[in-house]
């Protein structure tokens, strides 16, 4: 019973992958005009020459905020785990 369930879910997954491979848009033709807009308007809208930085810190600043929060949380956890213990404290 369990093997049948695994086989069924796997075949559904593989069928999904094959369908995606046929439905995907052709290489070099992006599905939206958003990247053209960003490349044309980065310098006038954000004053930045580097398009990647403009996307990271201006158009999608929330994403970078999340990255910084992840890094800060990881550092907090590591420092808390390895902090210098007082003598006798375990």
């Amino acid at each position: 019973m369990r093997k049948i369930a695994i086989a069924a879910s796997l075949s559904v997954f593989i069928a999904f992958l094959i369908a995606t491979a046929f439905l995907i848009h052709p290489f070099g033709q992006p599905p939206s005009q958003m990247d053209d807009y960003i490349i044309e308007n980065t310098q006038s809208e954000t004053g930045t020459d580097n398009v990647v930085t403009a996307v990271l810190l201006d158009y999608r600043g929330f994403d970078t905020l999340g990255e910084a929060i992840i890094l800060f949380t990881a550092v907090t956890g590591v420092v808390m785990l390895f902090r210098a213990r007082k003598k006798g404290e375990r």
């Binding site: 044309e40 310098q43 954000t46 004053g47 930045t48 580097n50 201006d58 905020l65 902090r83």
Partner: protein
């Protein structure tokens, strides 16, 4: 602590590492790079110092709570600048057009002018502070813990 050759070379190399890291942070809005990359470079310089001089000697002048304060200040700069444009939207580039980093470059290929970008270079500085202090604190704390364990054994 390693040999005198390693210590001399590390104390020379740390200058170039710090300058290169600051360059990467400050030019993040005009060339490849930015806060994360430059902060990681500076933190690697601090890791070099920890390896060369030993974590106990570094810990005399560089405490982890100082680094924690620096990382928090960097994060607060970033979030504060994001809230600065709240009059329009969150993460609005409110410094564009002002005398501080306010120049707008012409479209197309330009010279890399550093006084452009509005809040973006300042956000890079904030992220750079967070990353360099955070990674340096992680290196320092783990090195101290492993040195302590070696002493116990």
């Amino acid at each position: 602590m390693m040999s005198k050759i390693v210590r001399t070379m590390a104390s020379l190399l740390i200058l170039f590492t710090l300058i290169y890291g600051l360059y990467i942070i400050m030019h993040g809005h005009s060339s490849p790079g930015g806060g994360f990359q430059g902060g990681a470079i500076i933190a690697s310089g601090i890791a070099l110092l920890i390896v060369a001089f030993g974590s106990d000697n570094i810990h005399k002048s560089l405490k982890e709570h100082h680094l924690a304060i620096l990382a928090s200040v960097g994060g607060l700069i970033f979030i504060g600048l994001a809230f600065g444009g709240i009059g329009t939207t969150f993460f609005y580039n409110f410094l564009l057009g002002s005398p501080i980093f306010g120049r707008i470059p012409p479209s197309g290929p330009t010279h890399a002018d550093i006084w452009t970008g509005g809040v973006i270079p300042l956000m890079e500085i904030g992220i750079g502070l967070t990353v360099l202090a955070g990674l340096a604190a992680v290196f320092l704390v783990i090195a101290l813990a492993s040195a302590e364990r070696e002493e116990e054994e």
